[in-house]
Amino acid sequence: MTVAVIQFGGSNCDRDTVQALTAMGVDAELVWHEDGLPAETSGVVLPGGFSYGDYLRAGAMAARSPIMDEVRELAEEETPVLGICNGAQIGCESALTPGAFTTNESARFQCEHVYLRVENADTPWTRAYEEGEVVEFPIAHGEGRFEIEDERLEELEEDDRILFRYCDGDGNVTADTNPNGSKHNVAGVTGEDDHVAVMMPHPERVSLPELGSTDGRGVLTGFAES
């Protein structure tokens, strides 16, 4: 049983993710996308980075890589799948999750710490938190603006599929606390079933005590339970 952290050409948060999971006692390994998923795969991370140089659209090429057919099959069998940053873009491009992450409203790459409000604490990725709890994660993206048709977003909200929204330190969700222009400040969503999720902020970068914060561990706990 191992969590496969898939490396595409240009992934760069793959080793951080393995390290964060390993430190939590979760067995995790790097898997090169051309090698396919190991038979014992019990979870999948699509890590951050710049797969295929963000050609065409961020995540577009990796989403069409053959290994994603295997990821889709596992996702249908209730294997947990988490896309982080570029992995979130890949998740949406491959239709594992709804919507799209596209160019920031600022048209700039943004690398900063943000506050997130936990919207639904009843998913494998947020069970470690309380609903309404505020956590602090880093973001580092140029294409993180969550875009989706308005009606579709309403459906997601009604179905409790929003994991996190960008907020201030007190949990207020406003236009000023939205770093990238995401619709309704959405920072992460789940797929049809909540064992599949994507998010632009980086939980793996706030999971090791040596780095000053472990706010992100709760998200990765989604794999510990699998």
Binding site: L56, R57, A60, R64, C92, E93, P98, G99, A100, T102, T103, N104, E105, S106, A107, R145, E147, I148, E149, G181
Partner: protein
């Protein structure tokens, strides 16, 4: 088989924010140009051999829907020309 060139234009759906186009517009205005609006689009030219125009269009439509455009963000247009 006939040789065709398909031109695929992929643009953002109306209402979807285009920060790069806005930045480009501002730069043009800074250069002293007057303009009402600016929209950007991606254009792809695809050379292919096909049975006929319809076959070419069907194949290019599938390419567009499976990769070149993202249905959440984009509308697209395809024109087919004999080479």
């Amino acid at each position: 088989m006939t040789a065709y060139t398909a031109t695929v234009t992929v643009r953002l759906k109306s209402g979807v924010l285009d920060p790069e186009a806005e930045t480009t517009q501002r730069s043009l205005e800074r250069l002293g140009f007057e303009l009402e609006d600016l929209r950007s689009a991606d254009q792809f030219e695809i050379d292919l051999d096909a049975e006929d125009r319809e076959d070419a269009e069907d194949r290019v439509t599938e390419m567009t829907e499976r990769l070149l455009a993202n249905p959440t963000l984009h509308d697209y247009e395809i024109t087919i020309d004999e080479q």
